[in-house]
Structure formats: C-alpha cells, structure tokens
C-alpha cells in the first residue's frame, strides 16, 4: 500500500464528498456502540452539542464494558446483524474487518476534517489498501509513569529513556510498606497482559512468530522476557497482580500505591487530574524501557470510530464520526473540561497547540512514544505480521487470550514460568493449525 497515493486519493475524495455533504443534511437514528472509558463517556455527554449541529440525527448509545462490547460488536459485524451504525474498535480489528469488506470507507469525510493532520503512524494503522476504514478517537502508546517524590526519596533519577535494568533497580528501591515499586498488567487477555508482554517481548528481542508463522514461545528471548516480568512483579508488584488490568492499576496509582506504572499514555491525564488522583502533582513520565536492542517496549493503539457495512444510516453515521474525531470536538472538550482532558494522540495540530502542551505536562512524551512505535516493523528479528502488541490476524484475539491466561496463572503462582511458556507454545501452535497455517 502506498502511503502517498492514499493520502492524495483521500484528500481528493474528501473534497468531493464535502461538496456533496453540504448539499443535504443527513437525518435518522444512529446507534453507537462504545466502550465505557472516560473519554467515550465524555463524548456521550456531549451528544447535545452534536445535535445542535445535526438536529435531525437522533443518537442512541450502547455503552458497554470493553470485553462485553468487543464480543457484542464482533458477533454483530460477522453475521451482518446491522445493529450498530457506529462501532468503537481498535487498531487490531480495523485492518481485519476492513479487509473483509465489513467497514465503510471514510475516505470521503469532508475536507475540513483534515485527514492529513492525523499522525502518520495512527493513520497507516487504520488504512487498508488506501482506504481509511476508521477515524481515530484517541490514540495511545505506552510509557513509564512514575512518582517523582518517591524516586527522589530513593535517591535515583529517572532517565528520559530508561533501560529495563534501571526499572528493576528503581522498583526495588521504591518498594516500601504500602507502596509497590511497580504496577504492571497481569490480568489475562490479549488486550490486557498480552499487550504489555508482547510489547515488552519486542524490546527483549522476542516475537510471536518467525517468518514461517511458527510460534516462538520456546525461544530464549521469551524465557528472558517472562522471567524478568515475573521477577519484577513477584518481588516489587502489588498483591493479586494477576487480576490487575489497566483500570485496576490506574486506581492503584491514583491512590498512591504504585512507584512506577508502565501503561497506556492516555492514563497520564487521569493520574495528573487532581480530582481523581491523590498524587496528581507528583507524576513524571519517561519512554517505555528498552534493552539496547533497538526496540522499545511501547505499543500503539487507537480507539477508533468505524461505520459497519451493514448500517442503514451511513451518512448520519459518518457525520457523527467526523464530528467526534474533528479538531472542533477537541476544542469543545478543551472549552468544557480543560485542555488536559481532550482525547489525545491522534492529530499533529494538537501537539502544535501551545495551550495544550502547556496544560498537559505529558504531551511531549506521549507524542514521542507514539512516533517511536512502528507497527510494520515491531520486532528485532523480521516477522510476517503487523502490529506491535498484537498480530493482525483474526485468530489472534482467541489464542492470545489463552496464552495470557497461562502467564496470569504463572504470575498467580499456579505454575512455573517454563510451564507457562510450554503451554503458550502448544496453544499457539494448535490455534494456528486450526486456522490452516
């Protein structure tokens, strides 16, 4: 896929479409399926602002917990049930669904939506064969968030780009009493612990598959990754870490119970928000760690809005997608909730905005993290797949969750790291056979 052609094509189509779009105002009822994350709930709360612009479009919300939502929309799109007009999906689903022809191309969004403003790494992740199949609502990489006060007390200074070894040292020094040196995801799931472990594996030189699609969990690199992770978590992590996902860790960090937390960059605005966080003024940021192998352990993800091909209200749905992912929406949130709370990570213009960068201390680190992730070349050794913390094939969600359960079991002390790796290898090999590789 040529990026430049797609850009040219996109803007040409966008101009044509914007002329057409102004001719009639769309109407109808649209059903939007979304995740119950903070930014989406805010979007839902701003529905009336959307209706001020499009009074003839009635919006129905289906806000569900992530796992429920995912199985719900996947089921619906795969059977062409047509229950939803806008779906909130991620960079994992978009290429697969787009390839299957299940999504409506968004190349014809109006010119003022300004597709060229979208960060290239994000945009390429949502484009298949030159067609943009989803509009990024917010995007994230991962980075280190740490407590500046505890780091100082430990007599250490966090470098901008730490190594894993430094993280281990710092975690050891910061663990004391009620404070756990490091919080990492342990909850099983392809989008939970496996997002962290896959990205972490990349920085240890590990990969999911070699170029012949053979599972690689029997390699030394994976053993190193898992052993390091287990050592970190059992010695300096919180209790019950095997049940902690993003939300659990966020709440721990906000309560001041974590020294460091390596997770999604979007968390930065939550942990620095004095309304929710007890440590809002004591948080520093650094790039995700590496091992000097040329890849850092940071991922790339964009929660995006897509219009399924089964929708009967394509025009109205597109109008909503364009509105919710526009610069105007960003300005609207900034006006109502402050600049630090706007959905981050999707547009260059946001990072060029001095108001934003001064309000959001994490802006620079977020942008650098996003730009340093490369979904097309995620690993040290070459791989046949794209995706940093996932493998963009339909079977991945299934087997990666099972692999994640093996590692979660190991973290909970129910099996050894070697057993977990052995089983991970078996599960993955078996699933790939079933898929016909």
């Amino acid at each position: 896929m040529s990026f430049r052609t797609s850009l040219g094509l996109a803007s040409a189509l966008a101009v044509a479409a914007s002329m057409a779009a102004h001719a009639q105002t769309p109407s109808g009822t649209i059903t939007i399926a979304t995740v119950n994350n903070g930014d989406m709930i805010r979007m839902q709360g701003l529905t009336s602002e959307f209706n001020a612009q499009y009074p003839d479009i009635k919006v129905e919300w289906v806000t569900l917990e992530e796992n429920v939502l995912r199985s719900r929309v996947t089921q619906d799109v795969a059977t062409k049930g047509g229950q939803f007009d806008v779906m909130t999906i991620g960079t994992y689903e978009v290429p697969i669904w787009g390839e299957n022809g299940w999504l409506v191309s968004l190349n014809d969004l109006p010119a003022e939506w300004d597709a060229d403003d979208i960060l290239p790494a994000i945009r390429s992740g949502l484009t298949v064969d030159g067609e943009l199949y989803a509009a990024p609502f917010y995007a994230e990489s991962s980075m280190v968030m740490y407590r500046t006060d505890l780091m100082e007390a430990a007599g250490l200074t966090m470098p901008e780009a730490p190594t894993w070894e430094f993280i281990r040292e710092a975690a050891e020094a910061m663990t004391e009493g009620d404070v756990y040196g490091i919080c990492l995801r342990g909850k099983a799931g392809w989008g939970e612990n496996m997002a962290l472990l896959s990205a972490m594996g990349n920085s240890f030189g590990a990969r999911w598959f070699d170029e012949d699609w053979q599972a690689q969990f029997d390699t030394e690199q994976w053993a190193n990754t898992i052993n390091f992770y287990m050592d970190l978590m059992t010695n300096y992590g919180p209790p019950g870490a095997a049940n902690n996902g993003f939300n659990e860790n966020l709440s721990l960090f906000q309560q001041g119970k974590c020294g460091m937390w390596i997770d999604a960059t979007v968390a930065a605005s939550f942990v620095t928000n004095p309304n929710d966080s007890t440590v809002a003024d004591k948080v520093g940021f650094a790039l995700a760690p590496d091992n000097g192998l040329g890849k850092r352990g940071n991922w790339l993800w964009a929660w995006s809005l897509a219009v399924p091909a089964g929708s009967q209200q394509t025009e109205a749905a597109k109008a909503f997608v364009a509105w919710a992912t526009s610069k105007e929406y960003t300005a609207l949130v900034a006006e109502k909730e402050g600049w630090a709370n706007v959905p981050p990570g999707t547009r260059q213009s946001l990072y060029d905005n001095a108001e934003y960068t001064s309000a959001a201390s994490f802006a620079d680190m977020t942008l650098r993290s996003i730009n340093s992730a490369d979904p097309t070349q995620p690993t040290v050794d070459p791989v046949p797949y794209t995706g940093v913390q996932f493998v963009a094939i339909p079977e991945f969600a299934g087997f990666a969750t099972e692999v994640g359960q093996e590692f979660a079991n190991a973290l909970a002390g129910q099996q050894s790291a070697e057993q977990a790796l052995e089983r991970a290898q078996a599960v993955t090999t078996d699933a790939m056979e079933a898929a016909g590789y």
Binding site: A33, N36, N37, V62, L64, E65, V68, S71, Q254, Q255
Partner: protein, 276 residues
C-alpha cells in the same frame, strides 16, 4: 405449629438466626451503603460503615449517563411478558398432564426440563442468525419469546406439581354440573391454583429479570434491559465502586422489593412437589 420452648432457647435461636441472616444479606447491604458514599469514602481504609456524608451524587451521575427508566421499562416488559406468555402455554399443558396423565407424561416432563440444558453459548450463532432473518434483533418481542422458551419448562413443571395436589373430584363435580372444559379450567381450577400460579409467576419474573446472556447478546439500544445497564458500569477507568454500587442497587431494587413483598406467596408455591 407452635412448639413450646423456653424463652431462653427462643432468644438463642433468634440471635443465631439474625446473625446468619445478616451475614447472608451483608453483601447487598454493603452495596446499598456504598452507593451513598463518595468514591473516596467507598475505598476508605479502614472501611466506613454508617457515619459518612451520605450523598445521592452517584445516582445522579448514573441517571445522567444512562436513562434508567428505559432499561427498567424493558426489564419489566420482558420479564412480565415472557411470564404471561409462558403461563398461557403452560396452564393447559400442566392441566393435561396433571389430570389426564398418559404413559408418557413423566417422560415429557423430564424431556422438557432437559431442553434447559442446551448451553446458551453453543447456540448463540444459530439464534443470532435466525433473529437477523426475522428482524427480531434488539426487539422486546424477540427477547420476550426467547426468555419465555428458557423458562417454559420450569413453569410447566411448577404448575404440574401444584395442580397434582388439587383433588380431581372437585373438577369432576364441576363437569357433572355441566361446565365445559374451558369453564372448568378458568373458573374452577385456576382460582384454586392461584397460590401456585402466583409463586410460579414470581419465580419466573425473577429468573427472567436476572437472565444475562441472551438479554445482553440479542439487544443493542432499544430493547436493552437492566442487565445491559449494569454492563456499562463494570470496571471503567478510575474509581468506580460507588457508581457501580448505585447502578447495582438500581438494577436489583425493583425485583428485591417485589420479592420481599411477595415472599409469602413465593415460599408457599416454591415446592416443585417436594412436599407431600
């Protein structure tokens, strides 16, 4: 049955029973209490029991995000509708099995129960495809029918066991007096079986209200009942115990209140023929 006991023994019984009762009820009580706390108080260490600033804020937030009355209405229609529909089909069947038994009655009854053992997840795809075919997705009527099917065996069985305890002679006497079959069922049998029917209705409303697989997977925005309402409050970002508690309280309160008011009826008929 009043057995004579010493006041001392009665006091011991009372204390013990209350302790156990409160222990069993505690998770619900704690949820209700937490729903009136702020998020920070909700996770306070040590836990705060009664003396905190009671707030209705969580309820306001939840109501603002999801229109409670719509979910509630859908729950009521689906639970009520499926029970009513189930009764219409089950009363004649139960009558037939109880008063005109055949060689196969017991087998039919047990077979009916065995249809409940079909694992729901295993048939999700077929049902979903059928629903698309008939345009039933996200409709109350579609969901009502599915829930009715799920509970029908239980309805038939409860009614059957209840009907069996009614002496057939009374029905026969009515027939001698020239009552038609319809009159016999409507005016003689049904009034006598009211307690049994009442508890059947209650049990099925409870089961339908709490059904969380089909109600979640076959609905989107229009027909979504309270089970879907809850699914948008489980583990969101940040602190959420208080909001989750408020949403939980809202979801279970109607059925809890109904259950408490009618527990006598529920208990009376909930025997499945276990009492002879």
């Amino acid at each position: 049955m009043a057995r004579a006991v010493t006041p001392r023994r009665k006091a011991v019984n009372t204390a013990l029973a209350w302790a156990v009762g409160l222990l069993i009820f505690f998770p619900i009580l704690w949820t209700i209490l937490t729903s009136f706390k702020t998020e920070a108080t909700a996770i306070a260490d040590p836990p705060v029991w009664l003396f905190f600033d009671w707030t209705l804020e969580n309820y306001a937030v939840v109501q603002e995000r999801s229109d409670y009355s719509r979910f509630l209405w859908n729950s009521i229609i689906i639970a009520g509708g499926s029970t009513l529909l189930g009764l219409i089909i089950a009363i004649p069947a139960a009558w037939s099995m109880a008063f005109v038994p055949s060689r196969f009655t017991k087998d039919i009854l047990l077979w009916m129960l065995s249809t409940k053992m079909l694992p729901a997840v295993g048939v999700l795809y077929p049902i979903y495809l059928i629903f698309i075919q008939f345009g039933l997705l996200d409709t109350r009527i579609g969901l009502t029918v599915v829930i009715m099917f799920i509970n029908l065996p239980i309805i038939v069985w409860m009614l059957y066991t209840y009907f069996k305890e009614i002496p057939g002679e009374i029905l026969e006497a009515a027939r001698m007096d020239g009552a038609t079959l319809r009159e016999e069922i409507l005016y003689v049998l049904t009034p006598m079986a009211i307690p049994g029917i009442a508890s059947t209705v209650l049990l099925n409303v409870i089961l339908a209200w709490n059904e969380a697989f089909w109600t979640l997977n076959l609905t989107a925005a229009k027909a979504a009942p309270l089970t879907a309402f809850i699914a948008s409050y489980s583990s969101p970002e940040g602190l959420f115990y208080a909001k989750l508690s408020a949403a939980s309280t809202m979801a279970i309160a109607p059925i809890l209140i109904l259950g408490w008011f009618s527990q006598k009826q529920l208990v009376r008929g909930l025997t499945f023929g276990a009492v002879k």
